[in-house]
Subunit: 413 residues, 2 copies
């Protein structure tokens, strides 16, 4: 390590982010840059120019992931990969994912202008379709190269207009070669906004991310009986919505019983959904999160009993199906330690926390020692045009990433 700590160029980094913020900008100060859209293509083109300007070897793989490789002393050795994604939610924010890619670019620029030679190569990555907003599920680029999805599966996913992932990739000219996929890496480090209020509320600058919370998704179907609201006496009803409402209250209340448990009903559809008709069917989702896998599944089992009791009393039928079970990902101590060392050396405030949402780092953790650096989201807002991370926090986050890269890639003494 250098004795004098290297720092990023704040003005240059903010200017780079400003350029990104102008590509696919939405009406209310956010970004609408869906994966493989025209706006995404424009952003990619500029990004590739930036990589080339830094003398990096640029390559595109068969999922459209973009890599820029900076040589290391041991150029056949494993690389240290850094990055995230440049796509956004519909009318999303300017920071989610983007900061991870652009602070990584700033790190490369600082290494270059200081002629720093690292032991291991450093690779910067822009993953395709992290958001999953246009092509569901999310994290297809990182999921593809880590074998979580087959190429065939990914290529045949269609957007709402029936355009396949494969077609969209060709349309914007980012169909690369499977030979170019990332391989032989020792670490992956992703800087990201917290997308939650904890750092902001606790007035901490850096989140030392312990891992990604396990996350289970269920679909609950409540079947009652459709009937006209006028004549049907209250005691004869099998109202699916009243039963579902009682269930949703329970889903919410169970989080009081287990510390750190988060339960959310985000989606709900009522049939036939007519003012004067007693709902015959309600379908809603449950999202359960906790870093402790056992506690999480215990909570769900308990919840199931409570929902069954409500169904019985309400004379409705209950069907629960599992849509997704994702175990907790724990990040590599070597990366967490490097982040902790960085904040100590740099004198920044920090705290340990878990990530609620998934990230490309989740899949990358399966193939390399991986970690994340969180920076604060003002009021915890994300997936929203009002998403905001303050310039000071961006700068400090980038300095931490710069430190960690030097530490893990190994700089010449």
């Amino acid at each position: 390590m250098e004795k004098t700590l290297l720092k990023v160029n704040r003005e240059r980094l903010l200017e780079t982010i400003k350029i990104s913020s102008s590509i696919g900008s939405s009406a209310h100060g956010g970004l609408h840059r869906l994966a493989l859209s025209e706006a995404d293509k424009n952003m990619r083109d500029i990004f590739v120019d930036w990589l080339k300007a830094e003398g990096l070897a640029v390559r595109i793989d068969d999922f459209g992931n973009i890599y820029g490789r900076r040589k290391g002393k041991k150029d056949n050795g494993p690389s240290v990969a850094i990055g995230s994604h440049l796509d956004t939610q519909p009318c999303g924010g300017k920071y989610d994912g983007i900061l991870g890619v652009l602070t990584a670019l700033e790190v490369i620029r600082v290494l270059n202008e200081n002629d720093i030679e690292t032991e291991y190569p450093v690779e910067i990555i822009n993953f395709t379709n992290e958001e999953g907003a246009r092509f569901a599920p999310p994290m297809l680029g990182s999921g593809g190269i880590t074998g979580n999805f087959t190429k065939d599966f990914i290529y045949h996913i269609k957007d709402d207009e029936g355009i396949s992932f494969e077609q969209a990739l060709k349309d914007i000219g980012y169909m690369g070669d499977s030979e170019n996929r990332l391989k032989n890496i020792k670490n992956f480090i992703e800087l990201h906004i917290e997308q939650g209020p904890i750092l902001h509320e606790q007035e901490k600058t850096i989140g030392v991310v312990q891992g990604i919370q396990g996350n289970d998704w269920y679909t609950v179907k409540v079947a009652g009986k459709t009937n006209h609201a006028g004549p049907t006496p209250m005691e004869n009803r099998q109202d699916a919505l009243v039963a579902a409402s009682k269930m949703i209250v329970k889903v919410n209340e169970i989080a009081n019983d287990i510390k750190g448990l988060k339960t959310t009903v985000g989606k709900m559809d009522v049939t036939p959904n007519v003012t004067n008709v007693i709902p015959g069917e309600v379908v809603f989702t449950i999202d359960i999160r906790h870093e402790d896998n056992e506690l999480r599944s215990h909570a769900f089992e308990r919840l199931k009993e409570q929902l069954s009791a409500i169904a019985l009393i309400s004379k409705v039928e209950l069907t629960i199906t599992t849509d997704w079970n994702s175990e907790t990902t724990l990040f590599a101590p070597v990366v967490k330690d490097a982040v902790k060392e960085a904040v100590t050396e740099l004198g920044y405030s920090s705290m340990e926390l878990f990530s609620g949402p998934g990230h490309d780092a989740k899949y990358m953790a399966e193939v390399a020692d991986t970690g994340m650096i969180f920076v604060p989201s003002v009021d915890g807002i994300s997936h929203n045009e009002q998403e905001l991370t303050l310039d000071d926090d961006i700068e400090k986050g980038a300095n931490v990433l710069l430190y960690v890269v030097q530490k893990l890639a190994g700089t010449k003494k």
Copy 2:
């Protein structure tokens, strides 16, 4: 009155209903015969043929209402009108409305074949768009001729495909003249299925309808804060759906406090409605019914206080708007008495009840002494392909209508 009671021809009536059931039949044994659709046109054409075959003077008004007039002794005197509607809900039943028109036709047939001369003319009516399923609001035909809606309002209502009521009426060839509207009537009598379980459960054949329950509709908007389900701690959430669920439970519970009160949340929309996003907004409707207008509005005031308390605790904003207030309609004693006399003379079981849903009779009650005859709905099911009224009950209901028409129109001694 005749000494020997006239009776309808059961086989002929059931055959007529069977023909109706074949026009616009849906996949699971019901009818899909939306107002002014091709199926509605086909049904109307056959209906007009039937009226002509009975020697009735047929006319169509500017709302597409179809009338068939049978002369009376006092042919300039006011007429006794009978009928209902031939349109249905999407995938609705074969009886709702239809029985009122086809039993009326059977009454005319019986009067004709027995050469019965009435003091007053008898008019049979098929009202346009009672259901309101294609062109909302419901009861446009009866509402139009009674001045509840202007012609301009009705003509400009559009269906989901942007076709106006006026255009649809012309398209099926049922645009008539305003001169033809019903006028100078003394009574209107509508036979209808109960659309509720009371007669079926109480094992009564005929419902002596006291009136139509008052009915208020409200829209409730609950505004919280959209956020990602992963990182947002439970205690920081302003979850619009959890708050709305608690409110819906209250809407349901208040019916326990006031006898005869019916409360329904039939429609609910969640925004953004994504599994892993905390709902930022929920909009739902409240339908409140009770025959006592004061009790009904008292119940709503109390409910408003309860919902406001939930909103406060849940840190969400509550907005309630009134969509519709409809006072209770009380039917004319002269019709109710005639129905009671009929069931006594015919030896049928009966009970008094209120109608929950609205009917064309609601508007007709504003211009004539009006009443309704209910026949049982098996299990109370309606607005559904499983809707069923038993043949025996149809026959008996038709006999009651025949009796009441003779009574009110006055038959020669």
